[in-house]
């Protein structure tokens, strides 16, 4: 099976998992994975524990929030853009009400307390 390349963005403190010189406050790296790789495989490739990430996007679609990570099994594809934010980041509900989400995240939101009408999901 052929490799895929994932355009990976690491924001804030997470830049230490792949930042390059001249990238201040963020890192942007191209990660090669086997076809069929999941988000969990991408994290493993970066040596980044899933606990250190907060808000996450796959191709501009929300896939995880702090305390809500249904995206570990999400299968990635060639040229996907994945963005990881550190736990200091935030995205209040009113500013993401109606945005695009990956299927796993949309399901998780509906299943969570108050159908996801919260700012954070940490227990």
């Amino acid at each position: 099976m052929s490799d895929i390349v994932v355009d990976t963005w690491l924001y804030g403190e997470l830049a230490r998992y792949g930042g390059q010189a001249g990238q201040v406050g963020y890192g942007n790296v191209q990660i090669h994975l086997k076809a069929g790789a999941t988000l969990a495989d991408l994290l493993a490739n970066l040596s980044m524990p899933t606990e250190v990430r907060g808000i996450t996007f796959i191709n501009g679609q929300l896939s995880a929030m702090p305390g809500l990570q249904p995206d570990l099994v999400h299968v990635l594809h060639d040229l996907d853009r994945v963005a990881f934010f550190d736990p200091h980041s935030m995205w209040p509900f009113q500013y993401r009400h109606g945005v695009a989400m990956v299927g796993e995240m949309a399901d998780a939101m509906v299943a969570s307390k108050d159908q996801g009408l919260h700012h954070t999901y940490n227990k």
Binding site: Y11, F85, S89, Y95, H97, V99, A100, L117, H118
Partner: protein, 587 residues
């Protein structure tokens, strides 16, 4: 408790007991009530019949955390409708501890060549505030960073300041009311809607407050207030967004730049795209790391006003370590950055400083410059050209006056059809085609496009949770209606709206807010009462707007958002008009 009425027609004033019907009002609830009751809806915003109303919140001036807010209200020269804008500043606390519920500026001098200031002090012998007028003409037509030190030198470091800059002096529809921050900068603005011009039209350059000897805010039930204060404090100290070294204290509101960019909802180059290739260079993370590199240490954010736990105000420092501006908020960063195609943080900070210096609203200024860029006045990405346009606004050149009139007017003059406004007010930094919930609030709020009009608060209390699909158009409209009502109450409480982050997720925090208010006022409001109070404020505002000729036909996003797909998600704003109409139709 007092009402101060300052008449600028004859430079007289009255200090009267607060009317009984207004005794439980504060902040936005007070300003919108006074405007609705006393300003003719068809009056000219810059004429003698408009009024400018200042009101501290219900708990402002007490030990309640993060509560030094003041609301400013009047008829807006930008929207033609009712306006409330608020700011965090020691000025709010100082007005509150003098037991002033509202300060109302009325009338207009026939001689517009002179400007005046007033100094409000506590008259211990009379047991009430008093007002002295002074000639302030010498302070006009200057950079506010130069003016503020002169005022402090003349009147003493203990005062707090409200005023306007060159934009207000020239009656620009883009002009804010400026207040001092904790470091005496002219950086805290009730920025939106052109209220600086209302103050300027009355030629009241400054309202200074010296609270020496003031008695403080009376608290009817100290035990209940203390119980509520502790609940609120605990919620703010614990929540990930509001706690010390949490999201806002670390990265500031500009943390949203990268988030909105990744979501494809960061309006870029006058709302022609939802993703900006230079976003990471101007984001909150870049500000935090950039300051660390330039200063050699981590720099956490500071409080804009006394008693704030959240402390979200950042500063940006030049390569030599000198401060360029405070603060580079998300909306300012976006408006003057991504929306203009600019990724130079030093230049964006300089533009924020210039907006503060001239008395301009950063959102309206950035949105207007982007429209000018679309018209070809300067190219997108030309940060030096954008700085020059801000100077033109400050100096009052012909082009500067056009741009100072706001985004909608500038769009008409420059022949641009791609104008991102609702009710004449420029949209802030969240693209309605990507974030449809905020689009509903932009379209329907009484204020014109306003990102602070509908904060998410306590869905279980609002009774909306689980009743409708929150992602259906009808569900989004129902939530927007509920959020706008509770936001109107928070804007009345005196708390910064950012407490909403904590009290949504920590229910005891919401209880604390209600108990604080009941403790101060001696009321027995329930959670439901609070929501109903918020709704009653919205109804007053809506009625004023309808009488001013702004009805539901104005509750729409610009046409291009319904027809032009926004990359990268290539979505249009497809919320049906019936859903928009239901927001106030079912209030």
């Amino acid at each position: 408790m007092w009402f101060i009425r300052i008449n600028m027609s004859d430079r007289t004033y009255r200090v009267e007991p607060a009317p009984e019907t207004y005794k439980n009002f504060g902040g936005r609830g007070m300003t919108s009530s006074v405007v609705a009751d006393e300003v003719p809806p068809l009056s000219h915003p810059l004429g003698p019949n408009n009024k400018l109303v200042f009101s501290p919140g219900i708990v402002t001036g007490t030990a309640a955390p993060t509560s030094a807010r003041v609301s400013v209200g009047g008829k807006s020269p930008l929207t033609g409708g009712i306006k409330e804008a608020n700011a965090g500043t020691s000025w709010a606390r100082d007005l509150a501890v003098m037991q002033v519920k509202a300060l109302v500026v009325e009338g207009q001098p026939k001689d517009q060549s002179k400007s005046w200031g007033v100094k409000v002090t506590w008259d211990a012998a009379a047991g009430k505030p008093k007002v002295e007028f002074f000639d302030a003409t010498q302070f006009e037509d200057q950079d506010l960073y130069q003016v503020f030190p002169q005022v402090y030198k003349q009147f003493g470091d203990q005062i707090s300041i409200a005023g306007y800059g060159n934009a207000g002096q020239r009656n620009y529809a883009n002009s804010g009311v400026v207040f001092n921050d904790e470091s005496k900068r002219p950086s805290r603005y009730a920025g939106r809607g052109g209220l600086g011009a209302v103050m300027g039209s009355k030629r009241l350059k400054f309202i200074l407050i010296d609270d020496k000897g003031a008695p403080g805010v009376p608290v009817a039930d100290k035990a209940l207030f203390e119980q509520g204060r502790k609940k609120m404090t605990d919620a703010l100290m614990k929540h990930d967004i509001t706690k010390p070294k949490g999201a806002l204290n670390s990265y500031g509101t500009a943390v949203l730049i990268n988030i909105m960019n990744e979501a494809g909802g960061l309006p870029t180059r006058n709302f022609t795209a939802g993703r900006f290739e230079g976003a990471a260079k101007i984001a909150g993370e870049a500000i935090f790391e950039g300051n660390k590199q330039r200063l050699g240490k981590e720099l956490y954010n500071h409080a804009c006003s006394p008693g704030c736990i959240i402390q979200c105000s950042n500063t940006w420092h030049a390569a030599d370590g000198k401060e360029i501006a405070s603060c580079v908020e998300y909306e300012s960063d976006w408006a003057l950055g991504a929306n203009c195609g600019i990724d130079n943080l030093d230049d964006i900070a300089e533009m924020v400083r210039l907006c503060n210096a001239y008395g301009l609203d950063t959102i309206e200024a950035g949105a207007t410059i982007a429209v000018a860029m679309q018209a070809g006045v300067i190219p997108f990405g030309d940060s030096k050209g954008a700085i020059n346009l801000l100077h033109e606004m400050g100096k009052g050149t012909p082009m500067g006056r056009i741009l100072g009139s706001g985004t909608a007017t500038a769009g008409k003059v420059l022949g641009v059809t791609h104008v991102p406004t609702v009710k004449g007010q420029a949209m802030p930094a969240y693209e309605p085609r990507a974030v449809k919930g905020i689009g509903i609030t932009y379209a329907t709020t009484t204020m014109g496009a306003d990102h602070t009009a509908g904060y998410t608060i306590a869905p279980e209390i609002l009774g909306v949770s689980g009743k409708q699909d929150p992602l259906s158009p009808e569900g989004k409209a129902a939530l927007s209606r509920a959020f706008q009502a509770t936001t109107a109450f928070v804007d009345s409480s005196g708390h910064c709206l950012f407490i909403a982050f904590a009290i949504l997720d920590i229910a005891s925090g919401f209880e604390g807010m209600v108990e604080e208010a009941n403790g101060v006022l001696g009321t027995h409001w329930s959670n439901d009462d609070v929501v109903a109070l918020g709704a009653s404020i919205l109804k007053k505002e809506r009625a004023f707007n309808e009488a001013a000729g702004i009805g539901k036909a104005a509750d729409r996003v610009p046409e291009f958002m319904k027809t032009e797909p926004l990359p990268p998600h290539n979505q249009v704003f497809d919320v049906p008009d019936s859903a928009l109409d239901s927001v106030f139709g079912e209030l």
